[in-house]
């Protein structure tokens, strides 16, 4: 702007226009910030209010007498359908599902990316393209066959249980969901690592080969130590996606005490016996939101990078 700034007489009106301009810009930005923050704000303040205050007060006002009771009730007593044991069990279901699914899919993605960039073979582009396309499919198109297969595996698990006294995890909802999330997360994790390793100097790998390092030695000693940023991106992306998943969870673990957090929350909110306790519902929603929210606050930069990497392909 300074390059085209006008001579002195008009400068003051130019400066005023610029000030107005700035005010408008900041005003708009603030307005949108309110728009984006509003639902979270409503959830947060409502979760600390008493039902009395909710019914007689304003949705947007801060709690007069903040209370933790809704949170405690949401954690240990709230009803999902007819079972009133709180969210804690479902929370752990989600944790038990997310941790192995994230670790396995990230490790496999790293190995796949490593092979697809540093150990190329004929057709590597096709293999990658096929895995990449899997990121985009509507999961409705695989939902039913997977349900059938998981059902049969479950029955086989029962047979094994009867024969050997151990079902090897077959028919266990958590194991099923881990499996499903690993399989349908592979496309993303492979994409992340492949694009990252693409830029990794191949000379280093070649030099290590000349020195006699094996496939896995190179992976462990050279690739992995240099992969921290992309590991963080992948772990966060997978964690968020798997924690937030609702479709698979409701199709394969949609009822009973095996539900992950999202399904349980949806049930809690839609349980319509008696008075709807909005404060408890909001507290339950906050509990479901906290893990991903914390990750976002702590490492939001990496989360955005993951989204970007998933958006700008190739």
């Amino acid at each position: 702007m300074s390059a085209v700034s006008s001579p002195a007489p008009q400068a003051s009106s130019g400066a005023r226009a610029r000030t107005i301009n700035r005010i408008v810009i900041y005003g708009l930005l603030a307005l949108f910030a309110i728009f984006y923050l509003m639902p979270l704000f409503v959830m947060l303040v409502t979760s600390f209010k008493t039902m009395d205050e909710i019914q007689n007060g304003n949705m947007l006002s801060l709690p007069h007498a903040p209370t933790f009771a809704p949170w405690i009730k949401a954690w240990s007593e709230v009803c999902s359908g007819l079972t009133c044991v709180g969210m804690k069990g479902y929370f752990w279901n989600s944790i038990k599902m997310v941790v192995p699914a994230v670790l396995i899919s990230t490790l496999l993605g790293a190995l796949n990316g490593y092979v697809l960039t540093k150990w190329r073979f004929r057709g590597h582009i096709l293999v990658f393209a096929m895995m990449l396309f899997a990121c985009f499919i509507p999961f409705q198109s695989v939902l039913l066959p997977m349900a059938t297969i998981l059902g049969s595996l479950g029955r086989f698990g029962v047979t094994l249980q009867n024969a050997t006294g151990f079902n090897f995890g077959l028919g266990n909802s958590t194991v099923n969901l881990v499996f499903v999330h690993v399989v349908y997360g592979l496309g993303f994790t492979t994409l992340f690592f492949r694009n990252y390793y693409e830029a990794f100097p191949t000379e280093l790998v070649k030099a290590a080969q000349v020195d006699g390092a094996s496939f896995f030695q190179i992976f462990r000693r050279i690739m992995l130590p240099n992969s921290l940023p992309i590991i963080v991106v992948t772990v966060i992306y997978q964690f968020t996606n798997i924690w937030n998943d609702f479709l698979f969870a409701s199709a394969y673990a949609g009822s009973g005490d095996v539900m992950p957090m999202t399904v349980a929350l949806n049930n809690v909110v839609n349980t319509s016996t008696g008075v709807v306790e909005y404060n408890v519902n909001m507290a339950a929603a906050m509990i479901a939101a906290l893990p991903t929210l914390i990750v976002y606050v702590v490492a939001g930069r990496y989360f955005v990078r993951g989204l970007m990497a998933g958006a700008v392909k190739g």
């Binding site: 085209v4 929603a285 392909k313």
Partner: protein
């Protein structure tokens, strides 16, 4: 030196036929493929195999349980008939009409709002580091979670309407979420709220990638800020528009929990999208063949958008 390295490195199986290669070293050479194989096999079976399976099921007359006798395209015929059944609307008619409304508005508003916010944020704003994460966080939360708040906010008896009544604007009326003709627009609002910050981030990255010299030159030539953006910046952002469109289009078609969390399907299923139609018909209404056929149609729609895009991206990459 380099030739030695070359021969040692290019130990693809074709080269490996040379005599003297021990079993062990041949195994070493196959190792990369062995490592990749499980993932690739899983993709082939659980993605492509299952898609074929779903296509197969759509040509049977499966109801509650899969049946494997091909009975022809009855499911598709029914969907086709329902496509034109507008009065009273069939569930399928509602779902695809909603998809059209939702898809168009969601993509258009997200692109417009995302670009607008990115341009605002690109004006050397103080506090950008605070604002950006605020615009983007909805993408990190499940809509099952934020839907709880949205549902409340949009509820005429509790949320916005009630609040404005308390503030004295008693004639204010906003009951879209309970209105079968307007409920889909509340899904648009919530969807835009969730994804527009992400589109903003994509555009912002694009804006930051534009060469500052071009902008300066245009300013010296006397271009106004508006002209600068219309004539120079926005055309330069074309690749970002394309990526954002692809992302939004496939998110739109996959949208499922948005509708469930916000409206539980809406009054009489009036907020359904094809994804909800598929789930309901397959798992609740015991019309597995019809559900599969609708899944196939969803898949074909996404494929028509994604495959040309991936093809051009990957071809460009490999030159």
């Amino acid at each position: 030196m380099s030739t030695v390295a070359e021969t040692q490195i290019k130990l693809t199986p074709e080269h490996d036929a040379r005599p003297g290669a021990s079993v062990r070293s041949r195994l070493q050479d196959l190792l990369p493929k062995i490592v990749l194989a499980p993932s690739f096999a899983a993709t082939i079976i659980f993605v492509y195999g299952f898609i074929l399976w779903t296509i197969y099921l759509s040509f049977t007359n499966s109801k509650t349980f899969p049946s494997y006798a091909i009975t022809g395209g009855r499911a598709y015929q029914r969907l086709w008939r329902w496509t034109f059944e507008s009065d009273p609307p069939s569930s399928w008619y509602t779902s695809i009409t909603n998809m059209g409304i939702f898809g168009f508005l969601y993509i258009a508003i997200c692109l417009a709002l995302g670009l607008f916010l990115a341009i605002l944020l690109d004006q050397k704003i103080r506090g950008e580091g605070v604002l950006r994460p605020i615009y983007l966080y909805p993408m990190a939360l499940s809509f099952i979670v934020t839907g709880v708040a949205w549902k409340w906010f949009l509820d005429p008896g509790l949320g916005l309407e009630q609040t404005l009544h308390q503030w004295g604007w008693t004639s204010f009326h906003f009951d879209w979420i309970k209105n079968k003709d307007f409920v889909i627009y509340t899904v648009v609002i919530a969807g835009v709220w969730q994804a527009s910050g992400f589109v903003m981030a994509m555009f912002l990255a694009g804006l930051r990638g534009i060469d500052g010299e071009i902008m300066k030159a245009a300013q010296i030539d006397g271009a106004s800020t508006f002209q600068l953006y219309r004539r120079i910046v926005i055309p330069l952002l074309r690749p970002v528009f394309l990526s954002a469109f692809i992302v939004l289009a496939h998110l739109a078609i996959k949208s499922y929990d948005l509708v469930v969390a916000l409206t539980s399907g809406g009054p009489g299923g009036s907020a359904w999208l094809p994804s909800n139609f598929m789930y309901e018909f397959t798992f609740k209404r015991n019309e597995m063949a019809v559900g599969s056929a609708s899944a196939v149609i969803m898949l074909m729609t996404i494929t028509a958008i994604i495959v040309p895009y991936l093809y051009s991206e990957l071809r460009e990459k490999s030159r």
